[in-house]
């Protein structure tokens, strides 16, 4: 595994110093993956402001984004922070890894429907 450079750590801590961004990360940590709309929902700030927060988190290597059909999805990068291993952490990793695999398998054997 690559170790984080000091620059990378600075970017990470700077990203997490902001309460809105911390709150976004907490929700991603708890929920796994959210759409951009779900992320914006509890905050009274504009869509461009949310977009800027997501950009800061992405540059710090804390989140990754993808597009799936009509959804713009955001998830936490699990390798971003090295955790203190605990029973609960391992249990969480079990499910998150397994669901990643389930998602890939189930999507691959479902025929894509085209939008009419």
């Amino acid at each position: 595994m690559r170790s984080a450079s000091p620059d990378r750590l600075d970017a990470m801590f700077a990203a997490l110093a902001d309460p809105t961004r911390r709150s976004i990360m907490e929700r991603l940590a708890a929920r796994g993956e959210l759409s951009v709309g779900d992320i914006a929902e509890p905050f009274r700030i504009s869509a461009p402001a949310i977009s800027r927060h997501l950009q800061v988190l992405e540059r710090a290597g804390l989140i990754e984004r993808r597009t799936e059909r009509q959804w713009r999805l955001v998830r936490m990068r699990r390798e971003a922070l090295k955790p203190v291993e605990s029973w609960l952490t391992r249990q969480h990793r079990h499910w998150s890894d397994a669901l990643d695999r389930l998602e890939a398998l189930a999507a691959a054997d479902t025929p894509k429907r085209r939008k009419s």
Partner: protein
């Protein structure tokens, strides 16, 4: 946010019926049920209310670990509830939690929700022993290095 409950959610582009099969048919379950790099050399699934299940997983270093439980609810293709307990190193089954999986149809596929509860005080304390301040605790759970 409750530290004694684990919640995960995924939007998956496959119908609930298909996903439910991945949870309940042994041939499909062994393809994904475990952390990256693990395989499942033996398993048993008696998928009906009151039926027992168990899977033995092999870690990349060859170490075997068994997790098992009982199905409480089997409601295809919407809901699956089962108990969950790991064997410890001496083969004794440890603290039991309950896992609820729901499959909610969405226009593009399925919203899959997984809730696991209730973790013991000891497990939750383990999580806090890292010395991280409150906000970062939840972060740690998914920050597992690969």
């Amino acid at each position: 946010m409750n530290d004694r409950v684990l919640e995960l959610e995924r939007l998956i582009p496959a119908p609930p019926e298909r996903l439910f099969a991945y949870w309940t048919e042994p041939d499909l379950l062994v393809k994904w049920f475990g952390p990256e790099g693990f395989d499942i050399p033996s398993h048993r699934l008696d998928v009906r209310p009151g039926g027992r299940w168990s899977t033995t997983m092999r870690a990349p270093d060859g170490k075997l670990r068994t997790v098992s439980g009982i199905y409480n609810t089997v409601d295809p293709p919407r809901r699956l509830v089962f108990t969950w307990g790991w064997d410890d190193d001496s083969g004794v089954r440890g603290h039991e939690t309950e896992v609820t999986v729901t499959f909610e149809p969405t226009p593009g596929g399925t919203r899959l929700k997984l809730v696991q509860q209730v973790f013991q005080g000891k497990e939750v304390r383990d999580l806090h022993n890292g010395g991280w301040a409150g906000s970062f605790n939840k972060l740690q759970r998914v920050a597992a290095s690969s």
